[in-house]
């Protein structure tokens, strides 16, 4: 199969999602409620104070909108589907075709998330931004860097979710893995509480783990909490993480494929 044929899977995944239009409404509703709830919590925390550790309330509201709906990639369905395919041996149907399975997953999930971003999270971000106000990026350079971080964020989440789903091959349960990952992501990605409000030792550790590139760093760069050299440096570290995870994924997949074709499902 030619590489140029893989985008067909993106289109297929995108149109598949159109079949479930009610998911759009329930998804939007859920995201709206969660986002407004977080904004209410931060508003309460900032009552009577202009800034906390150099962060203002408008900063926090902007952080919630970006780290929340926008960079909170939904992988529940994906992990269950891939995990189940691996666990039940349905993954062999993909091995029967002349294609590279992880590449197929990549383009497939790209279509899924593109659909969610366009139909659910972007509209929610716009609605909330219009309702409560959204700060512009700290500078044009920060804004451009944010776009690069956005791509890194999605790629990182794809790799983390795929690696998690592949554990189903050895642990035989995708359901528990999804919960496990959601627990880790809630804390380590900074989607709920930014790293700057965390105890210094914890923030230091989480700041070097790949999860922080999913929500925390992109949002912090948008707000200008990292100066341009630091933002560029962290973008490079993020890319090193991406390369590392691609390596682990490739190794895990080849081991799994080997075991599949030696041991059989």
């Amino acid at each position: 199969m030619k590489l140029s044929a893989y985008p067909a899977f993106t289109a297929t995944a995108f149109t598949s999602r159109l079949a479930y239009r009610n998911q759009v409404w329930s998804g939007m509703f859920g995201e709206l409620v969660a986002t407004f709830a977080f904004i209410a919590v931060w508003t309460a925390a900032f009552v009577g104070r202009g800034t906390v550790d150099g962060v203002t309330l408008p900063d926090m509201v902007t952080y919630v909108i970006i780290a929340g709906p926008l960079l909170n990639w939904n992988t529940t369905r994906y992990i269950r589907e891939v995990g189940d395919a691996i666990r039940t041996g349905d993954v062999t149907t993909f091995l029967l075709k002349p294609l590279h399975y992880p590449a197929l997953l990549f383009f497939n999930q790209l279509g899924n998330n593109a659909f969610e971003q366009l139909s659910i999270t972007l509209p929610v971000a716009v609605i909330v931004a219009l309702a409560v106000g959204l700060l512009p990026p700290a500078s044009v350079a920060h804004g451009l860097l944010f776009l690069a971080y956005w791509v890194v964020s999605w790629s990182m989440m794809f790799l983390i979710a795929t690696l998690t789903a592949m554990l189903a091959f050895w642990l035989l349960t995708a359901f528990a893995l999804d919960w496990f990952l959601r627990g880790i992501m809630a804390v380590a990605s900074g989607a709920v509480v930014p790293l700057w409000f965390m105890p210094a030792p914890l923030a230091a550790i989480l700041g070097y783990l790949p999860f922080a590139w999913v929500s925390y760093y992109p949002s912090a760069v948008y707000l200008g909490k990292l100066d341009l050299p630091a933002a560029s440096l962290h973008l490079a570290i993020g890319c090193i993480w991406l390369a590392t995870l691609v390596g682990i994924l490739t190794w895990l997949w080849s081991r799994m494929r080997h075991r599949l074709i030696v041991q059989g499902g």
Partner: protein
């Protein structure tokens, strides 16, 4: 002509973890692990030529699916050599995959939420099928498998029979040289089964596609596959034409004589008594050449004969006889 598939002493052994029962057993297995070797396929050899249609038959757990998986390259043989289209399938999975088509009766390859046509179109990309060829094949398969009415319906709305026809069409769009089918008629109703069988026989005849098919339904074999490979416990039991199997087993015809009242014991030189229910007596004819007239002539008048029934052995019976007698036959196929 060299064979398109050749297997020489192919074997597959799975290592299975011996699980100990109970909590104590679970604890024990943390420290010491016992494995049992399971021979799913054991020293199987055969050669299949291009254009053949071969039925691969055996009871559950006989190693049929394992053999199919090895031929399609998603399982590595642990012994012997296997060559498909001149290659070791597992070592050249991608190249092999591009030239074969596979249908699993129990596993769908169609995209559940999409119209059938979209799944087909995705295959056009996966197999890099030239547009004109794709259009030709789609037209041919749609007509042959009568799919026009549901080509634009999502797969989840299809009946099992419609879905299976779509699965088969999908596996043929890229003109594979070999089509592997693992229980393609499982769960289908009589009409759908018939449609699938007719089509497979046709594609084998008209397009020369080599067909390898596993099934439990012996009618599949009878209507599609002139050649039969029978396995049990991973070993080859029979490889040859269905007719030969029938002939080698004598394929003896069954005769039932019904009398108005029990005529007492009846002995015939041309037939052997198999069951005596008094007024109804069951025989098998000893010889292909014996005719009903011979039997009735020998029986003579005066027994109060009410009805006579002569039955050809059906394929199920042939196979059953075969498995019952397998120790004698396995050595001299």
């Amino acid at each position: 002509m060299s064979p398109i598939i050749s297997a020489t002493g192919v074997g597959k052994t799975f290592r299975q973890l011996k699980r100990q029962s109970g909590f104590g057993g679970a604890l024990k297995s943390l420290f010491s692990r016992d494995y049992t070797d399971i021979r799913a396929v054991d020293g199987i050899s055969f050669a299949i030529n291009a254009g053949e249609a071969v039925g691969y038959l055996g009871p559950n757990g006989a190693g049929k699916s394992t053999m199919i998986k090895m031929m399609t390259g998603i399982l590595t043989p642990s012994a012997g050599t296997l060559s498909v289209l001149g290659r070791e399938p597992h070592a050249h999975r991608m190249t092999n995959a591009a030239e074969i088509g596979v249908v699993f009766g129990q596993r769908s390859q169609l995209w559940w939420d999409l119209p059938v046509r979209d799944s087909f179109d995705l295959n056009r990309h996966i197999y890099d099928i030239p547009p004109a060829r794709f259009a030709d094949n789609l037209r041919y398969l749609t007509a042959m498998l009568d799919m026009a009415s549901y080509l634009d319906r999502p797969v989840r709305q299809l009946s099992l029979g419609q879905r299976m026809r779509a699965e088969i069409a999908m596996a043929l769009l890229h003109d594979p040289k070999i089509l592997f089918l693992d229980e393609p008629t499982i769960g289908l109703d009589v009409v759908a089964k018939d449609a699938v069988r007719k089509f497979l026989a046709e594609i084998n005849r008209e397009r020369g596609t080599t067909i390898i098919l596993t099934t439990h339904d012996l009618v599949d074999i009878e209507e599609i596959c002139p050649r039969l490979i029978m396995v049990d416990d991973g070993k080859l039991l029979f490889d040859g034409e269905l007719n030969r199997l029938r002939a080698s087993l004598g394929s003896r015809r069954r005769l039932t004589l019904e009398f108005a009242t029990d005529p007492g014991p009846i002995a015939l030189t041309t037939a052997t008594l198999t069951a005596d229910e008094g007024a109804a007596k069951h025989f098998v004819l000893d010889d292909e050449t014996v005719s009903l007239l011979d039997v009735l002539g020998e029986l003579g008048r005066g027994h109060g004969l009410k009805d006579v029934k002569l039955e050809e052995p059906d394929i199920e019976e042939v196979i059953r006889t075969f498995y019952l007698n397998k120790p004698n036959l396995a050595s001299a196929p």
